[in-house]
């Protein structure tokens, strides 16, 4: 029974990674850049939800919505101010800028909210499920996280396959120039991608802080890096890859903590990544990059 419990908790943690990884993978797929500030948008999302719900006493659903709006605006603003002017610059310049934005967000949070951890009260009011005569308890947070991840995945897939803006994203991810020749607003599509990724980051922030209820300005950085690993693991640029990579990573991490060593868990996670990349350099579901001849 304890194995199932570890597994379910791993899937739940993995669901958070998957939701964050979506932001990395979509932005990479479309803007061909790694947005290392993505993890810190999660942290801001957590603080906004904390302030609106615990501070102002608003209902959790409203707090989450406000947090999504704030993160969306933040994500689009970051893209416009920090990344858009660098569209023609070298990938290295963009990467360094992203790391700079990450530190900037952390330090702004430090300035505004202080370094002391905030005790985040769970936003989830779903009761736990008790199975097998009390031997297996699945918390409300776990259930909501897994359900949220599934709903987001299905919703996002439908959006990309069925909507005009979604198809524009596919076109831009494949060939920006050709997409523009179709009449697609490439900059607008990139901004939309940042908006979606950041809104998802807000949800991830709330779910993460509900399950692990301490909030500091550095809350987003480790999950951010792990979600980036998940995205690479699954194949960066691929949405099903982010899902698969996130879940696998969460499960491996949780099972390692349970059966091997909790100190070694992160090392094992990154070790698995190295092995996967040695065998499949493009990740599990990654596309082979074809060289044009």
């Amino acid at each position: 029974m304890s194995f199932i419990s570890y597994l379910v908790n791993g899937i739940s943690l993995g669901s958070v990674y998957a939701i964050i990884a979506l932001g990395y993978t979509m932005v990479y797929g479309i803007a061909k850049m790694l947005n290392f500030a993505h993890g810190d948008v999660i942290m801001i999302g957590g603080y906004v939800a904390f302030l609106t719900v615990s501070g102002m006493g608003l209902p959790p659903v409203l707090g989450v919505l406000i947090s999504m709006v704030v993160c969306t605006v933040l994500g689009v603003t970051i893209e416009k101010i920090a990344y858009k002017p660098l569209r023609m610059a070298s990938p290295l310049a963009v990467l360094i800028t992203a790391i700079g934005v990450s530190y900037l967000l952390q330090n702004i949070a430090l300035l505004l909210f202080g370094a002391s951890p905030k005790a985040f009260t769970s936003m989830v009011s779903v009761p736990a499920i008790v199975l097998a005569d009390g031997q297996l308890t699945i918390s409300g947070e776990t259930i909501v996280t897994i359900v949220a991840c599934i709903v987001i995945m299905i919703g996002l897939n439908l959006f990309i396959k069925k909507s005009k803006a979604g198809r524009a994203m596919l076109a831009v991810s494949e060939d920006k120039g050709a997409a523009q020749l179709m009449g697609i607003n490439v900059n607008g599509t990139i901004a939309l991608t940042f908006a979606i990724g950041s809104a998802l980051a807000a949800i991830a922030g709330v779910l993460l802080c509900s399950a692990y209820p301490t909030l500091t300005p550095y809350t987003g950085s480790m999950p951010g890096i792990k979600a980036f690993v998940a995205a690479v693991f699954g194949g960066i640029g691929s949405i099903p890859g982010a899902f698969l990579g996130g879940i696998l990573l969460g499960v491996i991490e949780n099972l390692s903590k349970a059966y091997i060593s909790s100190q070694m868990a992160d090392a094992i996670v990154f070790g698995v990544l190295i092995v996967v990349l040695l065998v499949r350099p493009t990740g599990i579901l990654g596309k082979n990059i074809r060289e044009k001849v």
Partner: protein
Amino acid sequence: MAMLEVKDLKVHYGMIEAIKGIDFEVNKGEVVALIGANGAGKTTILHTVSGLLQPSSGTVTFEGKDITKMPGHKIVSLGMAHVPEGRRVFAQLSVYENLLMGAYTRKDKQEIQETLDMVYTRFPRLEERKTQLAGTLSGGEQQMLAMGRALMSHPSIILMDEPSMGLSPIFVNEIFKIIEDVSSMGTTVLLVEQNAKKALDIANRAYVLETGKIVLSGDADKLKNDDAVKKAYLGE
């Protein structure tokens, strides 16, 4: 007034001046060819006209509207389509999805369907392969798809960049026949080609480019008999 008018256009790549001040025009209903060797600047000119590149100076006027500074995606809705060099179909999308992308700027579903039927009639092979991923098509089929995709926006002018490049001789003939068809349907064509002979065969007028400058221009028939052109581009 000409449909498309380019005046004193200069384009730089960093410090290098790729286009050194050129003037040309395309009138409604014409097929105009830009010919010249590799690196003469033909593709750069098309990219600048359709807004993929920004010129350092000069103007591009389309149907009386100055489009020099207009973002490329807006130019499409004015009625300009561009079949890029190397086709650049969306390899991961199906033939049908590629064609729909071409109609991105249009809203009326009924009209889009009509254009789609027209494209399928003209390119039966695309209809046969409509569910196939574009990346799995042969070069000639991809060229047809790129042209079909451009027609989907219902353009009044099509810019075509090296449509015959890398194709077998049979396909080359077919592609040039299609260009003539497109033109006879009333769509204006600005054609860039290294295959100067074929281009001059179907064009009304042509401009000859050499390292960023127009060195000759005139009626296609006249240019075909020009000694310098014969020697440099027609291999005679």
